[in-house]
Amino acid sequence: MSGTNSAERPASSGRAAAGTTDTPAESAVTGKAAARPLRKAAGAGTRTTSGGTPLRPDRLSRHNLSGWLYSTPFLAFFVTFMAVPILATLVMSFTDFGLRNVTNPFDAEFVGLENYSELLGDEQFLRALFNTGYFVVLGVPLTIGCGLLAAVLLNSGIERFRTFFRVGFYAPVVTAIVAVAVVWRFVLDPSEGLIAGLAAQVGLTAPDFLASESLAMPSLIAMAVWRNLGTSMVLFLAGLQAIPTEVREAAKLDGAGAFQEFRRITVPLLRPTMLYVTVMTTIGFLNVFEEPFVMTNGGPSDSTLTVSLLMYREGFNFFNMGYASSMAYTLFVIILAVTLLQMRLLKDKTK
């Protein structure tokens, strides 16, 4: 690595230095003089150019040290607190990692696929899986649909109050989900809540949303849609503004109505944004934790128990960390599969 010592040096002197030190070093390594020209020719693109052709400076060797110097701080944190834990969870999922292993992590016993096979027969886990699916299948399309509708309306040529609307729609996104969940609990409260009060005014009795097995999950979904539609709106708005006005004008001149313009111009050109929004929203929704944790704690009778919430309970209330790890990885594999599927479905159509 001839360039390591010149990494912090100005380029011109670095090149000169590399040129002079390279030649003797190389002849010492190769030994035979006859082999040298061949080697030089072979490695022309990489090794000797720093001294030879100034047009293609040998960046590889020159930046080796600084490249790693700039990478190390991040990598130190990243490896310790992300890469190692990602693998550790996988390893833990094949062990009986429990409370005593928090102090003696390497004492955990290897149990093979036992955790995973247990998951398949665990009714509570299957319930959580179903609930999470319910949350995603209803919540994601609603979030994306509402976000797209808001974006299209905001982009439809109105000028007044645009910022005002955008701020209003996006406000729920920036607020702490815990605080928002507390507020929604109050809004849905059967005795003092806003909805109960409004219902009473028109002579109706609002149900106790969060205490009802059939209504608790839809309530959480409504809240999640409310909170997340701002993100998809902003992304769609950016996507819409990237569509050249000429294309729209041309469509109008050709006599396209608003709906046709939307179907033939907006939707196809918005597909990359659609893919991104769908994937990100789905990943977020599959991991749902805070909403059921704060609002229902999984109840009533497990009707809002999600995979993340069950994993948290198993892992940190009961310290069945091996078992909880197998849940974490099952969810991860599901997320991966769903993401790949979505990328396939949404990408193929562009062709």
Binding site: P10, F78, V178, V180
Partner: protein
């Protein structure tokens, strides 16, 4: 649709068409505003309800039909909240942690972003691949080993425990690399020819060029840390080290404390939401722009 020959008959027809279109646009504009207004009502009503309820007396809180504007404005909910919860302490914890996490991310992510965008070195592609792969991994997957590690390091209930796992996020690297790639190489080469050292080039030439990206990253990371819940919940047992959301959630889900005190809870939610909401309303342009750029890039 338009006629190929421009006779007076088609001209009249076209004029009529324009008039019809004008009426139509006015009508669609009306519908647009009605729909947007309805949407706005739904998105903002819970906030209004929260903000106003925080200042209500118990009578107003349980009034039916619901009272929007408090008949007697009171600070009783806040004083009760401050009696039950050490709000300033949690506020301080949340702010400190979010600030440190933001600074760490700005520094580490821009350094690695610079290396990936502007330096060539052995292993670069592997690093990039691994970091981008990590973007896909949900945070919940790492919780248990992170907890074990932090407790083995005797760091539970410390600020270090709250900061370390989020000190270097993959998203920041992605963002910084994207923006730094756009900085022209000629600029860097010129500086190198002039005898500038790498650190100088990074700090004085590249960093000023990517200020918008740094602002975007700050917003994201600060907000993420301020609103983060699951990790602080796990990493802290000592109430002294709770962050604001953890304190609020613990308070809200404890039936002995929060029973029948919706006003107090609204006061708490108000204090968690207000600073972020205020900053957002002032800087809203940057917020929405930043999420849009981050999403598209």
């Amino acid at each position: 649709m338009s006629a190929t020959t421009d006779t007076s008959a088609t001209a009249t027809a076209r004029r009529d068409g324009y008039a019809a279109r004008d009426r139509r646009t006015r009508r669609t504009r009306g519908v647009t505003y009605v729909l947007l207004g309805l949407g706005l009502l739904i998105t903002t009503a819970p906030f209004l309800w929260m903000g106003l309820s925080a200042f209500k007396t118990p009578q107003d809180l349980s009034a039916s039909p619901p009272v929007w504007i408090p008949t007697d404005w009171t600070l009783a909910n806040f004083s009760k909240l401050f009696d039950l919860l050490d709000v300033p302490r949690y506020f301080f914890n949340s702010t400190l942690v979010a600030l440190i996490v933001t600074l760490c991310n700005l520094l580490f992510c821009s350094m690695l972003g610079y290396a990936l965008a502007k330096l060539n070195f052995a292993g670069k592609k592997v690093i990039f691949g691994v970091v981008m792969g990590a973007l896909m991994v949900p945070g919940n997957l790492m919780l248990m080993p992170q907890f074990v590690m932090v407790s083995k390091m005797n760091l539970l209930d410390t600020y270090a425990a709250l900061v370390l796992p989020s000190a270097a996020g993959a998203f920041g690297v992605f963002l910084m690399r994207q923006f730094m790639s756009a900085v022209p190489d000629e600029l860097l080469e010129a500086a190198r020819v002039d005898g500038a050292r790498e650190w100088y080039i990074f700090w004085r030439i590249v960093i000023p060029q990517v200020k918008p990206a740094l602002a975007t990253l700050s917003i994201f990371v600060f907000l993420g840390s301020w609103n983060n819940f699951l990790w602080p919940l796990i990493a802290t047992n000592d109430v002294e080290k709770y962050t604001l959301p953890v304190a609020l959630a613990t308070f809200a889900t404890d039936p002995t404390k929060a029973n029948g005190s919706n006003g107090v809870l609204m006061a708490g939610a108000f204090l968690v939401v207000l600073p972020v909401l205020a900053v957002f309303i002032v800087l809203q342009r940057y917020f929405t722009q930043s999420i849009a750029t981050a999403g598209i890039k």
